[in-house]
Each structure stands twice: as structure tokens, then as C-alpha cells.
Symmetry: C2
Subunit: 205 residues, 2 copies
């Protein structure tokens, strides 16, 4: 699958293919089914993520397409995501503990949960699949549908599946699918001695 | 480098080696120096992470050992981390925007920043290096030392370097370095139709 990186930006070629070829498709193959081994590897990739003091402040709700869990997660998505996410093979809600056992706030729990979902996403790519994380869902609907206890916050929904040709998508999703990936320049992202002073790096090749 | 996974827990073998072999060492080689290309690839791995609406709510402060930035970051670490982190080749502070342009809170920014640091960590392993994230630092010292503007919160410090034999570490760090990695069972981490009901997965091999 080609990666729609912004033309002329070769920087992404500096990183490992599992990261360089990572993007967030909407065009999933609605016939694709995860094997049990694939599902297990996605679960384990998230589970073995690092976290502050190994407190693992994450829980996940997951369902394969056709399952009750999948239907409940799908029903909680915002309209724009319902246009495409039903074609994915797996939907996963990431839930962060609002406070840890010592009463520390969600800042760190949300961060740690991001680490775990990133590992799940890398594993998806290692399996030849893609993952698309969404912030566009109704957290209250998920909370109610799954009886999530107080003190736990759904922070993302991730769709995992096999990419299908973008041409199968209706407009305007198709144009969006083929758009270039873009990021803020690294000089505005990595600083060194003081805030705003770019970290010196070799010239991009 | 062997991975000290809990004995009898083969689950980690289900995931890609870049994740399975990821752990957080304290025993870094104090002679190791990152090449410019390695540094660039770590930066790009973080920069190309996904984020909600591609808002990239992260900034990083980074310095190689011997630089002023490294000294300032090191000076902000809590004592327990100063025992070992000075031997790493690179220290990176991850900073999350407190609110995005639309006034949304840090929950999502912290999560997204975790995604970016996870990608940096995976890239470190792809380079034959290791990354160790820390929550134990004095955020106010970093804020002052780097003149971080209001509305931005340092959320982690990551040490990157080459692993050296644990035997070089003083006690009790040495025993800790050799301890098994452990995680909460997956049945208590991944749920399906409702909270607390384990996601069904094949038996571990």
C-alpha cells in the first residue's frame, strides 16, 4: 500500500517501515476477518506497553465485526466516523483510569494509554493491517453501553482492518483518503537549549 | 540483549520483536554517542505520530550527553533517576499543550503525546538502542530552565542509549535491572460485551 506522504518530504524515510508506512485509512475491506492469533497479538502488544511505575492505567473494550461489542462501539461513533468505521474488522475502545491508586490525575493515565494504543497500532502494521484512531465518539454512550464504572474515561476508539482500494469509498471520503500526510516542521517541534530554539539536525536527504 | 519477561509468560512472543524486546533499562553505556542520522530518525519517528485531527499537541526538548540541554534535563530528574540516567546518550522531554486551539483539555493532548513518544521508543529499538521513559522529574525546574510558556506541560522524560551489562550498575539498581517484566493478566485488561467480561482469545502457547 502506498503511503501518501507530502510530496518532497523525504523525512519519513528515515524511520522504520512499521512507522513510516503507518497512516489512518478509512477504506477498510468489509470482508476481512482477523484470525484469533492476530487478535491475540494486538492485545498483547497493548498489554506489554510501558507505563509510569508499571501501573497500567488502561483497560480496553474490543469486538470483531459482527459481535455485540462491535455494534455497541459502532453505535457510539460520531456520524462522520460511522460513514466508514463499520467496514473495519475490529473496534477497540481505550479507557484510561481517571486517577491512579495514589490519586494522581488523568494526565499521566491518558499519556500511558496512548503508549499502549501506539503499540497496538504498530502491531497492526506488523500484521499487514492498519489502525485508525478516533476521538470522534460519544463517551457517554460508550460508558452506558458497557457499564464503565466511575473513575474511568473512554479516550479513543481504534478501528483495525485490512486496507481496501480508496476507489471503493464514496466522495468526499475518497479525496480525503488520498490526501498527503503532513506534519508541522521538525524545527518547530524539537527544541534544544531553550524553548523555540531548534534542535540541530543534519539536512534532510 | 535478553528480555527479562516473567518466566512461563510466553504471551510477549506473540508480538513483533520491536515491541517484544522493548524494556526500560537503567544500564546505559556512558561511552555511546548517537550519530546524527540516528538522532534524526528518532525525531522523525515522533513527529510522524498520529494525533486527533492532526493537531500534533506535542513539543520536545532534547539534548545529547555533554550538551547544555542534557545537563538541564538531567538536573530536573528526581534523585532515583539521576542514579543512572546520566549514562544515557540522549534525554528528551515531552511537552503536551494544556489545551488545544479549541480549548479542549489535556486529556487528549497527553494521550497524543504518549503516541509520539511510543513511536520514538519503537524507533530507538529499530536502531538497536533502548528507551526508558520517566515520570520522576521536577516539572517546575524544567519549565524554568527551558522557559516553557504557559499552557504547556512537561509530561515525561525519556532516556535513550545503548544497553550495557547490568553488572556495571551498583546495587540495588542491578537487581532491579534483572527483574522480570510483569503485566496484569489480559483477562483483566481486555473486555468485550461489557466491562469486566474478558475478551475471548485463544489459549496461550
Amino acid at each position: 500500500m502506498s503511503v501518501p506522504v507530502a510530496e518532497g518530504d523525504a523525512s519519513v524515510t528515515l524511520v522504520h517501515p512499521l512507522l513510516a508506512e503507518r497512516w489512518s485509512p478509512r477504506s477498510f475491506d468489509p470482508e476481512h476477518v482477523l484470525s484469533e492469533a492476530e487478535l491475540a497479538s494486538l492485545v498483547e502488544a497493548a498489554r506489554w506497553a510501558p507505563s509510569a511505575r508499571n501501573r497500567q492505567p488502561w483497560r480496553f473494550l474490543a469486538g470483531q465485526r459482527g459481535s455485540e461489542a462491535f455494534r455497541k462501539i459502532f453505535a457510539s461513533l460520531m456520524d462522520a466516523n460511522q460513514l466508514w468505521a463499520g467496514r473495519s474488522s475490529l473496534l477497540v475502545v481505550a479507557v484510561a483510569a481517571e486517577r491512579d491508586a495514589e490519586g494522581q490525575s488523568l494526565t499521566g493515565s491518558g499519556y500511558d494509554t496512548g503508549l499502549a494504543v501506539a503499540q497496538l497500532s504498530v502491531q497492526a502494521h506488523a500484521l499487514g493491517l492498519h489502525a485508525h484512531q478516533m476521538g470522534g465518539f460519544h463517551a457517554d454512550r460508550i460508558r452506558e453501553a458497557f457499564a464503565i464504572p466511575e473513575g474511568h474515561i473512554p479516550v479513543s476508539v481504534t478501528a483495525v482492518g485490512q486496507v481496501a482500494p480508496a476507489e471503493l469509498l464514496p466522495q468526499p471520503l475518497r479525496d480525503r483518503e488520498l490526501a498527503s500526510r503532513e506534519r508541522r516542521p521538525r524545527e518547530e517541534t524539537f527544541f534544544s537549549t531553550t524553548w523555540g530554539q531548534p534542535l540541530l539536525l543534519p539536512v534532510q536527504t
